[in-house]
Amino acid sequence: MSFLRTLGWLTRRSAKNAELRDELRFHLEQDEDDLREHGAPGDEARRTARRGLGNLARVEEDTRAAWGWGGLEQFGRDVKYGLRQIRRHGALSAIAIATLALGIGGVAAMFSAVETVLLRPLPYADADRLVMIWLDMAKTDVTTKHNATPAEWLEWRRRNTVFSDLATSQPTDGVLSGDGGPEQVPARKVSWTFWSVLGTSPMIGRAFTEAEDLENVRVAVISHGLWQRRFGGSPDIVGRTIAINDEPYQVIGVMPPGFYFLPARDIDLWMPASFPPWMRTNFSWHNAQVVARLAPGVTLEQAQQSMSALSLELTAKDERGPHSVTIVPLRDEIAGRTRTALILLLCASAAVLLIACVNLANLLLSRGATRGQEVAVRTALGASRARLVAQLLTESLVLAACGTLAGLLLALPVMRFLERLIPEAMSPARLALNWRVLAFAACAGGAAVLAFGLAPALGASRRPPQLGLRDGRRAIGPRSHWLRYSLIVVETALAVVLLTCGGLLLQTFQHLRQTDIGFQSERLLTFETPLFRYKDFDRRVAFVEAEVEKVRTIPGVVGAAAINLIPFTNFASATFYQLEGQPQHSVPTQVALVRNVTRDYFTTVGARMVEGRFFETTDRRASMPVAIINEPMARRHFGDQSALGHRFKFGELGDEGYLYTIVGVVRQIPETGVLDDAKPVVYRVFEQCDQIGDTKAALVVRTAVEPASIVPAVRQAIWSLDSNQPLARIQTMEDIIERQLSTPSQSSALLGAFAVLALLLASLGIYGVLSHAVAQRTNEIGVRMALGATSGRILLFFGSRGLMLTLAGLSIGLGLAAIAARWMTTLLYGFGPDYAATAGVVSAVLVTVAALACLVPARRAAHINPVAALRSD
């Protein structure tokens, strides 16, 4: 209350001052009048009254002091004094502010990314209760998490005891035609429970019902973005019929802006999953991605245990082995690997800030020592210790405030860079300096003040004044030496951790960059065309062949081919297969990714053959079904033997379906992503597929010119075949790969930057402390040299001291780095970088840099002229 009143008065400061002057004037006039009334002559009365009042300015000042602004005014004076100090020690202050700005800028930018990805609320009600459920099918070839089957989802819904409800969804595409040109948009088929599980609903209209889902009614919910973009935000959108994949769908709802869901892109359409009856009881169609909401009071662990048991029970008789489930919080699913990267980088930036603070503390400790005299004079004049600490801390605060502001300016460009780290599911999220980031920066600045300001302030105020008065410059005790030395060890250790982690990440990134992708990605344009418009198999094959032929005639095109899914598309749909002559199971246990291609695919992308042949013009629908497999699959089944001539089929051996003969083995092409482990892949030609299957074909076009330049010609070519055909996801192969590498490349670049910064700051710290030690001990060195110490011994003395500190920091740092490396394994993508070699390189670099930082002050000490040194004192 009294603080508020004080604050209230502060805002009326000039009014209060005027009031006080009025009050005192009244006092004077009234006193004068009274005196005159009692018979004093005019002049006499005025003089007496004036004398009675005393020193007017003094009265005013004392009264103002009673207003309770004392502390604040004192603070204001300290701030002014701090600003004056900054100006007076220009170079020193500039270094301090720049150091702090680097530290705070980095940590603020990193926090903004963490805030966006890990802290900002997801667009679902009570999002922390949402989880994804994946099958954990360790007994099959695929050890990564698997989608559930619709049948499992239904059983889980019926029998689980831990969820309020479960929903399924699966990615698909939808081609819009009708108003405007044809356009392919990302879509998702979801169960009717999707909306209630996420706790969200359309902003206009409604979601679909259970009956509409079961009866396969053609209704759709569209995104806010699509509504605005394609339908101009028209208010009568609900109830309108639009053409999706050439079928009439009724729009029944529009989602609010900002709503998103997995997978890694914006979704514009939601349609009923409408599993056909046969799929509802089938346990081998793994096409239901399950999201569930934990029931009230149920923990993640309880859900995990309960669901694992249920799944093992449901799949007990499965020949592929009973399998468990893995439950992952939705937030982690969305953040993915970025989560670890972000936390690592936030820690790294915090470490840099800490190092910056350590350096500043050292800087201020040195300055505090030279300010001994000033502190001593103030103490002698009666300043209390608390007052001195307050003043020195205020100076640090001023410095920190400048550093924080500069840091925020620095953070802005870094944030633009960091936007590339946002997981695709959340993009296009923008990083912003919102209140959370500003509050965080303010806290970081405040923590920095305490970190770098407190020790020097306490140190400077502790010294007995007579010490400072006698010799202001050298008044520093041995305790403070130890403080500084341990600070040096701390910052060296931190720098070592950052350098080591940075080195590991950099190695991983180099490794990923140099990974053999099995084909040539340069000047390769890719795009997708949907195929659902052609209802029967022959017309689909004919269209794919026609578009390849048409595109091939475009000037600048060297070759063209089609594949059902472009490499690196993160789409890991796998199919069970059985090899002829292998032990028989009633259901197959091995899975491979299946890719359907045109015959020229391998030559167009420049794939490399291991053995056998590529597809040839003789491989037609009527001829013997043939397949080309990748090297990992060949090695798995045949080891060093040849895979050629062996036969296999999809599904069960007794089933209908082609028996494919292996005619070739190709070098592995990372179909699901650069970062994924080797998976078995089967390639076959479109013509020899045994079912309608694919709903889209992707074209890969090898060009002699810049790939983007032929896009208009390609579009014309496709439209000349079918004017309703949209071209989707037009991109170059290099862009696709670049995007895949963006998390490792961004994070290794950032971590590298932080590590270099840490190294520089740490060596600056070592240099600063040793220089200071030399400057302080000039006199002592002079005495030693006068007594016969050689300059070599002096050099050794200071040099070894610096190196000892470095080595202490190095050993602590390497220990911490080993722990950090274990924690960041997910960022190393299964690639085991050479920790020992990294540690070796880091040690060498650090010792070299530290040696240089030690050498300069040590040499200065060794070259001190003893006579001059002694005389100077």
């Binding site: 009294s2 009143r5 004080t6 009031e19 006080l20 009025d22 009050e23 005192l24 009244f26 006092h27 006039e29 009234q30 006193d31 009048d33 009274d34 005196l35 009692h38 018979g39 004093a40 007496t48 009675g52 009042l53 005393g54 020193n55 003094r58 009265v59 004392d62 009264t63 002091a65 009673a66 207003w67 309770g68």
Partner: protein, 116 residues
């Protein structure tokens, strides 16, 4: 013209005593600064003379603590003056301070006049 006492005849006020005197003065009604000073001087038979340099800081301090409140009103001579008056909080304070002072005075008197 009333005599102005010479500095040597004045009694220095103990720390905090001025506050007590001001509160007591205001307990008989609102008054402006000069009136308060004169009242203290008169009732103490000129033994206590309140310095302006102590009076106004004290008044403002008491106001800041909420023991007295101030408002601009017209004085009996028709001039605008800042009048102070006791708040309920101040009244409670006065009785507390007063008993403290009386206890102290009694104690000091006892020490000065031992009953042996």
């Amino acid at each position: 013209m009333p005599p102005r006492s010479s500095p040597s005849s004045r009694v220095d006020l103990l720390q905090g005593t001025l506050d007590l005197l001001i509160l007591r003065t205001l307990s008989s009604g609102p008054a402006h600064g000069l009136a308060i000073a004169k009242h203290i001087q008169r009732t103490s038979e000129d033994l206590l003379q309140v310095e302006t340099g102590s009076l106004y800081p004290a008044l403002h301090r008491l106001e800041a603590r909420g023991w007295i409140a101030a408002a601009w009103e017209l004085s009996d001579k028709g001039k605008r003056a800042r009048f102070y008056r006791l708040t309920p909080l101040g009244r409670r304070r006065l009785s507390a301070e007063r008993s403290k002072w009386e206890a102290l005075a009694r104690a000091v008197t006892l020490v000065l006049n031992p009953a042996d």
